[in-house]
Symmetry: D2
Subunit: 415 residues, 4 copies
């Protein structure tokens, strides 16, 4: 299992083309619309910029080749997505924005041939958008998935789904939903969950208000969503009944990592802006970039970026090797989400008054990344799961020592 520090030729080519596309075409659009995708035109704007990416040959780099994608593995995606993330509109242009990117990844792994044809193919081609309907208002599923409250009951001919969701990214305007609902047990115990594919125009789906959040780069908002007697046929089940939590893991690990890739691009952009400013701005008779406290911030940015990238590549290698990468992706997610926030915050500080003005995009980038310490599992939940696994490992090791038989006597060793 190796990490290519020098990306493969193909990855390099696509990353370079992405870089060119983003800087020449996408960044000017981002500046023009101040990073606000709704103000830029929402889905019409999406269609426009996705064509730019198609023309540049970098559309859907992660999608299966049979659906028009480039079929890249996680490690190859890393440099490409990072270049895309240099603009907050870059991922959308390339059809690698959340949640579609993660949904494509998951459907490619789990969907049946028919489901792929019906849902995955148009999604890969950018003909529709999708949403992943898992998170629920309190006291439902959020940081704690076991609290899942939405239910799916068997009814003649299929299933009936009821429940409320919120913070469903991209829901407004999505062509279909992947719905997570409880099929056994009750809220609070883990029980079993199942994923369903539901066309957006089905009866019983109501997209509610956009929850106003501080990020503005995602088409279709973060919405409230209600399922009220939604009927779905049996072939709407994605994979197997009661296997939803397991599939969620298939989606969540890689989705976390592609988030990190994209935000790393944002962090690098903020850092580049601060570096450029530090190289020119003079005060106290010196270049800003030659003042010790500025140098400390610059160096810490470089360290944070390097460490994020190194942890990211490590986790990607595990995922490509077929592991769930649970600990490695949690580590890269926690570190990455906190590091990109620090990098942008320091970049603001370096640019002084300009840093908090809209004359530079820094404050806006900070608003884009702040939620990432919460979305996809708050830092605290990932730390909890990292620690739980470490303690369990230690407890097991101690147990083994205790249970080891003395080779001479055949008796258990006491401590």
């Amino acid at each position: 299992m190796a990490i290519e520090l020098t990306p493969t030729t193909e990855a390099r080519r696509v990353a370079d083309a992405t870089r060119e596309l983003v800087r020449a075409r996408i960044l000017p659009l981002e500046q023009e619309h101040d990073g606000d995708v709704a103000a830029a035109g929402g889905d019409a704007f999406r269609v426009h910029i996705q064509q730019l990416a198609r023309d540049a040959g970098v559309f859907a780099p992660h999608a299966p080749v049979e659906y028009g994608g480039l079929g890249m593995d996680m490690r190859d995606r890393a440099p490409v997505f990072e270049e895309a993330g240099y603009s907050v509109f870059g991922p959308l242009a390339m059809n690698i924005a959340a949640p579609d990117e993660g949904n494509i990844h998951m459907l490619a792994h789990i969907a049946s041939a028919d489901q792929k044809e019906r849902y995955l193919a148009p999604l890969c081609r950018g003909e529709v958008r999708s949403a992943f309907a898992m998170t629920e208002p309190a006291p439902g599923a959020g940081a704690d998935p076991a609290a899942l409250a939405a239910t799916a009951e068997r009814v003649p001919g299929g299933w009936r789904i009821d429940g409320a969701k919120h913070f469903i990214t991209g829901a407004d305007g999505a062509g279909f939903f992947i719905v997570m609902a409880r099929t056994s047990g009750t809220a609070g115990d883990l029980g079993g969950a199942t994923m369903f594919l539901a066309p957006a125009d089905a009866d019983g789906i109501r997209v509610g208000r956009h929850i106003p959040t501080i990020d503005r780069s995602m088409v279709g908002g973060h919405c409230e969503l209600t399922f009220d007697g939604l009927r779905l046929p049996d072939d709407a089940v994605l994979g197997e009944v009661d296997e939803g939590y397991r599939y969620a893991q298939v989606r969540l690990g890689p989705a976390r990592m592609t988030h990190v890739m994209r935000w790393l691009g944002s962090a690098r952009r903020a850092h580049d802006i601060a570096l450029g400013y530090s190289a020119e701005r003079r005060l106290f008779g010196q270049r800003l970039g030659d003042l010790g406290m500025a140098q400390k911030m610059i160096a810490d940015n470089e360290i944070d970026i390097a460490a994020t990238r190194a942890l990211l590549l490590t986790a990607c290698a595990e995922l490509d090797a077929g592991d769930l990468g649970t600990t490695a992706t949690s580590i890269a997610k926690v570190y990455g989400a906190e590091a990109v926030h620090r990098v942008i915050d320091r970049s603001i500080q370096l640019c002084g008054g300009m840093g908090v003005s809209a004359d530079l995009p820094l404050a806006r980038l900070l608003s884009e990344v702040r939620p990432f310490r919460i979305y996809d599992g708050p830092s605290e939940v990932h730390r909890w799961s990292i620690a739980k696994r470490a303690v369990r490992r230690a407890a097991r090791a101690r147990e083994e020592v205790r249970n080891r038989e003395d080779p001479r006597t055949g008796e258990k060793v006491s401590r």
Copy 2:
């Protein structure tokens, strides 16, 4: 020199009345207008809410009694301004928002009787607003005041002022400006600066665009401003010619502290919201507020709030005793600006998805306080000045040891 931990009776009375006013009348208005003072109506809104404060008997607590204020010293202001800051509109209502509050403080100390009558009196009564025109675009005065580029030259009958300013808070709609301009030396060396009082309708003053920043609670924006052949009579000089840097210190120390008081109110509000959420929200079968990592954030909030308040009161006692309080106010400003930011950031984290939504005011409060680590001297400049004084003190102490004569021989002690 004492700190009253239990505020004086008068301070307690005004703080309590302020608390009542802010919670009953001002917070609902803040919620209604989402903390955006321009959207709320700008100066018309100001006039409306200032009447509420007058009716509550808490208007202009810092202004001299002869101009209708309550004449409070710095220590008494602390609990009152903190209660006012609980809403981002509270200080405006009470006429203690930046920059008027600091201008009132400075004019009360420095202005002539005539100047007080003409400028200070209507300012205390809330009839006009004012602005403090010091900061300049690069490479002019900013973190480094010695870079001051705007000039005032003597001309027959007075002065002619030329130069560009930016980030001038409250400039749009101000009744008058306090202008800082160079009267000796050249940009880059310290030389001498002078302060002038200029009515806003004088020829040669042009208020430019509002620099779009992430805070939205200040009437009149943060503006660009140009002086182009502005003519002012001799009696427009505030205090003495060439004493501008010294007067700036008179203004800046207290102004820093009142900033800390107000933002401390914001931090406490964010913390209260997070506490309320933590006391109700349940996950993983427990109350959020009973989970260890949440408790750590809550405790760190309490510590940051307590330390900010303690440092603030210490600095206020020095100021009330007539000191410039240079080190004490720098320490309280650096610590306070960073601490209130941490408190609000942790409060967001505690509230999860809700924390980054506009359903709670937390993200908006974060945007209000983030600039404070830059405004009024970036943290780095304050740290630099704190360190410079400490090293100078140490160098002097070493020098004294070296120069001390040996009492027996009368010779200098060598190291």
Copy 3:
């Protein structure tokens, strides 16, 4: 309730005399013995340096006047103890080292007249030392006092005490012990504890090994201790039966604060050394103290010292007012213990290779203060208790809102 930033005349006089004593007489002895009290002679050394403090008129500033002390309150102690702590041997010289200092404080509050005559009087005079026997080896009382395992049972004529203690500071050579033992309930529930006074030569007390720790300034070590059928008469009970936990609070709050005072002296000393070094050492063509990253560390030291002092004085004012000061002392303890560690660590870093050598006392000071983040309640336990109280307060406030009757209808307000 006021904090005197300018200490009272008496406090200033004693602090100045302490400063003179410590710098002229105690620091040279500390240097000579490399801060190792055992190597310096243990109790014989203590007797010697306590005479120096008596001669200087600064002995036992905290002890009641009737027992030869200066009867200072907590606020007056602060500047005096800080000066004493400038040398790790200073507190011992002045009879204000842990645990005797805290024991004097508690006995003055709780002991009967007879107990005072027998135990407190000689302790104040420095004729004997004492130890406070509370902490137990796992799974007994430590961070969690409710785990108290040592028991005291009523027997004819008094009590019988059994149990193991560890980390009992000063146990070796102590003249008497204050013993905490369970008198109702069982380990794990809180139940009731009682404090007993036991002469060190009583049958059934066995002082075990000195647990080797990284600090070396405390006479009598941190020992293991066993009570095995220790018989004590009824008048050995300190205060009331089953009130031990409450008395422990009486001792712990002030004892925490005097710890902070003393370690603050150590931090200031480390900072002074680093400042002196920074003022002289030149590298990269500049004075070390003029390099930005060094200035950042210096400023952060100043901030940490100022904040510790401000929080400390706040907590002392509460204690002097008769409060238990539970939250205020926890805040000052957590902040102070972490801050003094940071200050000394930065001082080491500023001095480079010299900082980790024994040519400067910095590394040794770091070893002295590191345990303070654990002793007297680990930072985590204090944070837990700070948070618990804050959440309880918030829960109660919510409850009140819910229970408030609508004034018009007399009905409970629903949320």
Copy 4:
């Protein structure tokens, strides 16, 4: 350029054998002698434990095969050295302790065939030790190499070397020295330096006192050293005259990384101890490892260890590819040195009172790693150099943009 996350078969074999050796044979010896190599017997002890490593087939894994080593590249060394570092005596046993390990690396790259035979060969075999004499007392070479004060002058038949060095690790008992002396320019400007090989018994070399530092695992101490008229022949020059600074880079990059590898082993050990404790110790009715604040510390340890390892492997891949790896090794060094310190500090905190006692090796490990934030370039110097390169890169990029000719007009683009 790839990083093998799964080490090569050979690296795995050697790492496993190292692990077995260290846990079965070396750790018990470390415990017995409390990690004090001098107390354990110094060089005699070294000879003893090096035989254990030879017997285990893991001796000198980094040394060239022709001199009996295993010829491993940097990436393969990483897992092996980390296992060695699990005990502070492990690296010594395997002949991969500083400074010999770095000296072997450098001599293999730079020495002439004769020099290799005379110096490198016996060093690889563990027959002698060596020292690297570069660092000087103030105001000489330290963090700032340009301050180099020791001089080498040409004299008939060779060179004469004079100057003082300090903190020369392993000097006492070394068989030879690599001496860095100025051969052109003067102290304060960079000028030129040359490296010389000097047998320890040459006239004019005086090994002075061991500077007492807080680490105790290195044979031969950190010594003061004086060259007083040391005469060396021409063939004592290592490489070319005036190329010393360049060679120092050849040594320093890899030496930094092997330091990180070894200390990472120490950090992992501390973490394992804390995990074991957390898995067993119960308080407040729960397992310590199930308390949220403990989980936070445990997770942060896991993150710090993972990030250190990822940054380390990245830098090693650059070095193996023939780069100097200046930025990558600085980043890995700064992050690694600070991270291992944090990991051990948290491990102490998790273990409470036990953590600061000598019953666990944690406090001692902390003392071993604390100097690493200073040795091999203080964190501040590495940050300064990371930032300087980043700003230079940004300045150059801006310059290029400015100098770019407009393709249509042939004129320079103005900003």
